[in-house]
């Protein structure tokens, strides 16, 4: 399976901003943040189409997201994920004494995952409870 | 010699500025046990958290405090000490030897961030790794380490020697980014690799990198190739590229980078 090394960015989008104000449980919100915006040429390289699921892996975790074509091209080998519970799973928590984790420019790997499902918010939070609590 | 054994595993930060030869000296084990320390927001005594064993010193020996057990949540050990020894057998938490004026601290394990920050004199030796901001200044201040030695046998983190003014930091292993940021003077000697941005915004002082460095900041200019470089009394064999910077700050710091370990920097030679 092809794998692509990218520099991962997270950030705001207007849809995420709107979705957030509509409520974290709204469909608008989760739809706006379970995506991974990629350069079309990178998608071609991975052999995936719009909305194919991909697995994004960093040193700190992995998450399945929907790949979408970025409207702001070109940005080869740069992938963008809006802020949200999904992006948080793979962020770099190290602050190097600054209080600030790294949320932009994290080295990551992307691979196609057409058969894996994007976690629902419920399932995602369920994973948190596992450690130590009922 | 006083030996401290933690009675249990600490979960919240413990702050024990009193673990310091200057404070312990002339005190009986009983008095030492009543010294106040903080566990989170609770006031405790040293005796609450540590078993304290007093052994009579041989008269020739310097006053020594030995800590056996996990003190990786105990901060400010040896802060402001001016004499004697502290030996930590295990890991130590942040601010070890902060504002230290003399004496020797030895840690057999790792030490966390701000080790030796604002220190004025004395020696800190870490057998394991160290965290970030080693020998740095307090937030907002430009008064970093102004004397003494910090020797780290393992790796060190980011912003080591931030606003450093004098003294020596020696790292046997690798170092993170921004070593010697805003450095005013003094020496940072790195035997391993640097993650980069060494010497950023330095005004003066010396940084020696014996290993690999991914790139040199564009605000440094190449000055010379030197066969060896002197670090305190020690001669370190090169050859080294010598860069000068940080020019963005009008600095005149010297950054020595091994030539053999960094063939990708050879393009700088055309500017010589």
């Amino acid at each position: 399976m092809p794998k692509l090394k990218v520099s991962l960015l997270t950030g705001r989008t207007i849809d995420q901003g709107k979705g957030k104000e509509m409520g974290k449980l709204s469909k608008e919100y989760s739809e706006s943040v379970v995506i991974c915006q990629m350069d079309p040429n990178d998608m071609k390289f991975l052999g995936i189409k719009e909305s194919t699921n991909v697995k994004v892996i960093t040193d700190f975790g992995s998450v399945v997201l929907k790949a979408v074509k970025s409207a702001r091209v070109p940005h080869p080998k740069v992938a963008f994920i809006p802020y949200g519970p999904w992006a948080s799973l793979i962020m770099n928590p190290r602050t190097h004494g600054t209080g600030m984790p790294s949320m932009k420019g994290i080295p990551a790997e992307i691979e196609p995952a057409p058969n894996e499902k994007v976690l629902s918010l419920h399932d995602l939070l369920g994973q948190f409870r596992k450690e130590g609590q009922p | 010699m006083i030996t401290l054994y933690p009675k249990r595993l600490f979960k919240v930060p413990v702050e024990a500025e009193c673990i310091c030869p200057d404070v312990f000296a002339e005190k009986s084990a009983k008095e030492i046990a009543t010294l106040q320390i903080w566990e989170g927001n609770r006031k405790r005594t040293l005796g609450d958290l540590f078993k304290i064993k007093h052994e009579t010193d041989s008269p020739t020996e310097e006053f020594t405090i030995r800590i056996c057990g996990d003190v990786s949540k105990v901060r400010k050990i040896g802060a402001k000490m001016s004499m004697g020894n502290i030996i930590v057998e295990g890991d130590a938490d942040m601010h070890l030897g902060e504002e230290m004026k003399g004496g020797i601290i030895t840690v057999t394990g790792n030490a966390d961030s701000w080790t030796g920050s604002m220190m004025k004199n004395g020696t800190i030796e870490i057998k394991g790794n160290a965290g970030d901001y080693i020998g740095a200044s307090y937030r907002g201040s430009t008064q970093g380490m102004s004397g003494g030695k910090i020797i780290i046998h393992g790796n060190a983190g980011y912003e080591v020697g931030c606003f450093m003014r004098k003294g020596l930091i020696k790292v046997h292993g690798d170092i993170g980014r921004f070593a010697g940021i805003h450095m005013r003077d003094g020496t940072i000697f790195i035997q391993g690799n640097s993650e980069g941005r060494a010497g950023a915004q330095m005004i003066n002082g010396k940084i020696v990198v014996c290993g690999y460095i991914p790139s040199i900041l564009p605000t440094f200019t190449i000055d010379d190739i030197r066969p060896k470089v002197k670090v305190n009394e020690e001669n370190v064999e090169g050859p080294f590229y010598r860069f000068v910077g940080d020019l963005a700050d009008g600095g005149d710091g010297k950054l020595f980078v091994s030539k053999t370990k960094n063939p990708h920097l050879s393009s700088y030679e055309e500017y010589l």
Binding site: K24, I90, P101 | K73, W114, Y268
Partner: protein
């Protein structure tokens, strides 16, 4: 039906105060002047909300009375030896004032969302200082506007229109018309390209060569906008010039500019993927402007270099003041994150990450900041207000947060309230409760109460006061 004017918008740091709301029977039915985010908030704020306090019993969140929830929350805080009280940037200064007092009372750590947005900026301001201003100053005077690693089009949608390029000032005119004509050009180029793609059947979209000269408009004596970013954003499209920087290389680029401004020469041919010729031209434009402003976003604080990226940016603008007037401002995200910093500072001396465990304020981000405390698993309880760390903190921090007793005060249902042990549904400040908040440039403005909240949803200020009162009572009983 009534129309309420001059409403402040409790969403982003732009904190527009010209919103008009149409209210009918205690319901907001229409929003004027707001951006998409603001309109979404005013029209949908109450769709996903809790109406009653919740307390976790046997693993389940169940409805409780406010008194019961207050008691449970107070017990958690009194028992804790190192609690964190986090959030604050989406509530009023009045609530934050009580929050600091509560933290002091329980000997905890108080931190606001600066810690994960512009905290590093604060750290470098403490090293360098900052030459800044209020936003109107720029509307009247700025002729060179930089947006560096920030994308106002998405994050602060009305920023450009209200304060910079498209605003009309006393000494500087709006650049709206120029943009419209340029936009026409961009659109037709895009159309042409698409047609070419179809006809030639090959991708003309390939990375274009970096041009070696700035566009003509950059040398004209008029308002101009430069965007520096790792991606070609919507904002970048509206700019006179877009400078694309390689990810994690902002520091090098900023420092290189500083050198050029000192008339030093670079030993390299390009920096951060940008040819030095271009840098020299941009530096000339900086030096030659009447009044320049550099807005920077979290693109600087969250990427490699963090505080030092900002350090370089602050130094760059400071250096430029020996040639012209040049100012700089962080683009603050939440509508009152500035207020949280401000209130913390006047009560404690420090703007965020303040540790009260020894009875007085102590400050050392990296040690007393909430991400570090959570990653080291040191906190034994937490109170989260008006923030959603479970959704936005790195996994390890979020996991350690939910492991320990967690109190959440939030008008909305969020991942954090879902995972909490005590939940207080609050009134939406700026819609259902009044107060004060600070715009990103430190201008304080009133938050208005437009409609009545549900009876069971108290304002944040009152919830916190009740908890504080109960904490004091419990502590008196203990002694």
């Amino acid at each position: 039906m009534t129309v309420v004017t001059g409403v402040t918008c409790p969403v982003c740091g732009t904190f527009c105060d010209d919103i008009e709301l149409v209210v009918k029977d205690n319901v907001i039915t229409d929003v004027r002047n707001a951006c998409a985010m603001g309109a979404a908030k005013f029209l949908n704020y109450s769709t996903h909300r809790n109406l009653r306090p919740l307390v976790r019993k046997n693993g389940e969140l169940v409805e409780a009375s406010i008194d019961e929830a207050v008691k449970r929350a107070a017990e958690i805080l009194v028992d804790a030896t190192y609690p964190i009280l986090y959030g604050w940037s989406n509530t009023s200064c009045e609530a934050i004032r009580v929050g600091v007092e509560l933290t002091e009372e329980v000997g905890g750590v108080i931190d606001n969302t600066s810690t994960v947005c512009h905290g590093p900026s604060v750290l470098s301001i403490q090293d360098v200082g900052i030459a800044s201003c209020t936003l109107g100053q720029l509307r009247h005077r700025a002729d060179l506007i930089f947006y560096w690693a920030s994308n106002p089009w998405s994050a602060h949608p009305r920023h450009i229109e209200r304060y910079t390029m498209f605003s009309e000032g006393r000494f500087q005119k709006s650049a709206w018309r120029g943009y419209l004509s340029r936009l026409g050009g961009i659109m037709s180029r895009k159309r042409l390209r698409r047609a070419a793609n179809l006809v030639l059947r090959r991708d003309v979209f390939a990375t274009p060569e970096v041009e070696r000269r700035l566009p003509y408009s950059m040398f004209q004596k008029k308002r101009k906008m430069v965007v520096v970013d790792v991606r070609n954003t919507r904002t970048a499209e509206a700019a006179d010039y877009f400078l694309q920087v390689e990810p994690n290389k902002d520091y090098e680029l900023l420092q290189a500019f500083r050198m050029l401004i000192r008339d030093e020469e670079l030993d390299v041919s390009e920096v951060a993927g940008v040819p030095v010729e271009i840098l020299e031209e941009v530096a000339d434009v900086m030096v030659g402007c009447e009044l320049g402003i550099l807005f920077f976003g979290v693109g600087l604080t969250m990427s490699e270099g963090k505080l030092r990226n900002v350090d370089a940016a602050l130094n760059l603008t400071r250096d430029l003041n020996s040639h012209t007037k040049f100012l700089i401002m962080p683009m603050r995200g939440h509508f009152n994150v500035t207020g949280a910093d401000v209130v913390f500072a006047w009560q404690t001396g420090y703007p965020y990450a303040i540790d009260f465990s020894h009875g007085y304020p102590r400050y050392n981000p990296g040690e007393t900041s909430v991400i570090d405390i959570l990653c080291r698993d040191e906190a034994d309880a937490s109170l989260i207000i008006a923030s959603d760390p479970v959704a936005h903190f790195p996994q390890k921090a979020a996991q350690n947060l939910v492991k320990k007793p967690l109190i959440a005060i939030d008008p909305e249902v969020t991942p954090t309230t879902l995972m909490a042990d005590v939940v207080f549904p609050s009134a939406f400040v700026g819609i259902e409760a009044h107060g004060t908040a600070y715009r990103m440039d430190h201008v304080p403005l009133p938050l208005k109460k437009i409609v009545e909240p549900p009876k069971t949803c108290l304002p944040d200020t009152e919830i916190l006061q009740r908890i504080l009162h109960k904490v004091r009572k419990l502590r008196r009983e203990q002694n």
